[in-house]
């Protein structure tokens, strides 16, 4: 089996890798936005809770949380499918990091613009939707890219909960062909390519939606 | 005795001629000012003299040796030259004292106590000994300037180069710089000063050279260059500079700005109607 054939065999798992990465990244964005927006409401008890949340989920290792969710929860009667387990662990942790990114991005929105919108008579929700979020998302792009690539690099853990991603393919291939070094080298190259694609893709998207003078 | 002799220095970059045959001498203990509009190649000229930039042609003889040759010990050369940068370029992470002792300790291998003592003397020479333990961020522009000069003097160089010493300072501070130059001149320190500041060029008191488009167009005593028979290019430069200077500086009666131009067709510079 040539190196090229190894590569092709492994690409079978790429779809799952991407699925896991996308699912966990989206979870992260949702969680992060939720936390960031809630923390802006100002209630001090809420800030304390959210602060504890972000601290806890940035202090616990991904693997440990994944095992808690997938192998631990059944003890409490809750069985979670593998992908959901990934989302509840890697996704939520990504959310904790993204919450910080989004908070900083929200703070970068010019307060006087919000004031002007209030003066115009727009509702709080409208201001959020029409002014703050469009700007804040653009400010958050570098931080989001950073976090999404981190999610990609922790996605191989999916193999421990049975998802047949690239890592899992590699392990079974390695066991049968005993060509471990070449296989894992190929895996590294595949992940690197996905990483490059992801980064280039998001930057291209950012360029399309760029507003002159906002982030330049 | 001639300390520095620059002969036909040429530099081209990116197809543009920056220095087009610059020649001049600097004697021991002398102060010379190179004056000219921005972009005339003044700063580049200084940088060629200590090989921070390499010229394409010409000769530079410093302390009797050709310094542009292939076998020149650049580092040794640079230690003989004290360079004071336009933006002072003090090391941000070091105190004023540490800025001055850095070269003493790591180039001269001086023990700490001796280096400190020497540095404090140089700082005192610049009236900065009280600020020895402050960081550059805690000093004003003029104070940073003095520390930069002390740092340059500490290694006991053969010559001091000043690159636009007043452009990062406000006009009041510029007068301080002139005082420092006078002080050092009285101590017989050899100095080469590059500037587009008219006031500095006149008040410094040394011979002035006018550099424009890479060539020296005139050299002489202050009054020759600023007088009524001056080169027309220089006068054109004056008009420009004077207009800018008047816009920036509050005109005070004590300022010697108008002295030599009674026949200037555009009207006396310091007259109250302006």
């Amino acid at each position: 089996m040539s190196f090229l054939q190894i590569l092709l065999q492994l690409t079978g798992g790429v779809g799952y890798t991407i699925m896991v990465t996308v699912a966990c990244s989206l979870t992260g964005v949702v969680v992060g936005l939720g936390v960031a927006m809630l923390s802006r409401l100002g209630a001090s008890w809420l800030s304390a809770v959210l602060g504890a949340f972000t601290f806890i989920f940035r202090a616990v290792p991904v693997l440990v949380l994944l095992f808690i969710v997938f192998f631990g929860l059944p003890n409490a009667g809750l069985r979670v499918p593998p992908l959901v387990a990934m989302m509840l662990s890697l996704g939520v942790i990504a959310g904790a990091y993204l919450a910080e990114v989004f908070r900083g991005a929200f703070d970068s929105v010019d307060a006087s613009e919000v004031l002007a919108a209030e003066a115009m008579g727009l509702s709080r929700f409208q201001i959020l939707r029409l002014i703050e979020i469009p700007q804040m998302l653009r400010f958050a792009v570098p931080g989001m890219i950073n976090e999404f690539t981190t999610v990609l690099k922790y996605s191989p853990f999916a193999y421990t909960v049975g998802i047949p991603d690239v890592m899992k393919e590699a392990m079974s291939l390695s066991a049968t062909t005993l060509r471990g070094v070449e296989i894992y080298l190929a895996v590294g190259i595949i992940y690197f390519l996905i990483y490059k694609l992801l980064v280039t893709g998001v930057w291209a998207l950012e360029k399309r939606t760029r507003i002159p003078g906002l982030t330049g | 005795m001639t300390l520095l002799s620059v002969q036909d220095l040429k530099l081209e970059y990116d197809g543009r001629t920056i220095l087009d045959g610059v020649s001049f001498d600097l004697a021991q203990g002398e102060l010379k000012v190179i004056m000219g509009p921005s972009g005339s190649g003044k700063s580049t000229l200084l940088r060629c003299l200590n090989r921070l930039t390499m010229p394409n042609g010409g000769r530079v003889v410093f302390e009797g040796r050709d310094v542009l040759g292939p076998d020149v010990d650049e580092r040794a050369l640079r230690q003989r030259i004290g360079f004071v940068f336009q933006n002072f370029a003090l090391y941000r992470h070091l105190t004023a004292l540490q800025n001055v002792t850095l070269a003493l300790r790591h180039l001269r291998r001086m023990p700490a106590a001796e280096a400190d003592e020497r540095a404090l003397r140089q700082l005192a020479r610049m009236d900065m000994q009280a600020h020895a333990h402050k960081y550059p961020a805690q000093l004003s522009g003029g104070q940073k300037q003095r520390v930069a000069i002390a740092r340059a003097l500490a290694m006991d160089p053969a010559v001091l180069f000043f690159d636009e010493p007043t452009s990062a300072l406000d006009p009041l501070m510029s007068r301080e710089v002139v005082n420092i130059l006078h002080q050092l001149r009285d101590e017989r320190v050899s100095m080469l000063c590059v500037t587009h500041d008219l006031y500095l060029a006149r008040a410094a008191g040394g011979r002035v050279m006018f550099l424009d488009q890479g060539r020296i167009h005139a050299e002489g005593e202050v009054d020759e260059l600023f007088g009524p028979n001056a080169d027309p290019r220089i006068r054109a430069f004056f008009h420009q500079e004077l207009q800018q200077a008047q816009a920036a500086q509050p005109i005070s009666p004590a300022q010697p700005m108008d002295g030599a131009q009674p026949v200037d067709p555009s009207g006396p510079a310091g007259s109250p109607e302006r």
């Binding site: 929860l73 | 921070l52 940068f85």
Partner: protein, 223 residues
């Protein structure tokens, strides 16, 4: 939970040794990763364009690939070619390569914030390139990068749990063992999580202290 904790107490030697191994690994790779990072950083800013390109390529590659792939390559792949390394060795090599790349990237970011005039002034004073690196560049970039570098230490601590997958007998591996023995998976993993939380908290406190101590008056901090 109480019965689990009781069981855990019974096995305290293993748990303690596991904890020790976690801290050992985290400490070692933090040091080697930092030293490696400084070396890579030096290579990235000096020398000719080829060397700089290669170094950037190294940094890019090790930031863009999952750590676990590197570890598996060395632990499960290499033995098929001959050399069989211990989990600890594999972990140290793999982590160091990875962490050094990240640290080099942080230092490079800080380097871009330096005043180029200071570097010119150092050259004008007659310092050699190595001296300029040692006396002017490194002290500044290190201080500017304290937040990023300490954050990396925290990551090292958390990521040490990955070594469990290559059979390194660190803390999480021991807790996994206990979980299987006692069938109390949830309890075991929750306790593991709590312990990591405690460890990270200690490092965070140390990091904040370090940040306060090394901030230069008036100097901007890198994010």
């Amino acid at each position: 939970m109480i019965s689990f904790l009781a069981q855990m107490l019974e096995y305290w030697p293993q748990v303690l040794s596991g904890l020790g191994n976690t801290l050992l690994l985290a400490a070692v790779i933090s040091v080697t990763g930092l030293v490696g990072g400084v070396v890579v950083f030096y290579l990235a800013i000096s020398g000719g364009p080829l060397r700089r390109r290669l170094t950037e390529g190294y940094i890019s590659f090790f930031i863009g690939t999952p750590l676990i792939v590197l570890l598996f390559l060395m632990y499960y792949g290499l033995p098929q070619w001959g050399p069989k390394l211990t989990p600890f060795t594999v972990a140290v090599i793999g982590f160091t390569l990875n962490v050094a790349a990240y640290n080099a990237r942080y230092l490079m970011t800080a380097f871009r914030g330096l005043d180029p005039d200071e570097l010119q002034a150092a050259r004008a004073q007659g310092f050699s390139d190595i001296q300029i690196f040692q006396l002017v560049i490194l002290p500044q970039v290190m201080r500017l990068s304290v937040p990023a570098l300490t954050n990396q230490v925290i990551l090292n601590l958390k990521d040490s749990s990955i070594a469990f997958l290559i059979q390194y007998a660190e803390f999480f591996a021991q807790m996994q063992d206990l979980a299987i023995r006692s069938f109390r998976f949830l309890d075991a993993y929750l306790v593991a999580g709590a312990v990591y939380l405690a460890l990270v908290s200690v490092v965070v406190v140390a990091a904040r202290w370090l940040e306060r101590r090394y901030v230069l008056p008036g100097v901007r901090r890198a994010r």
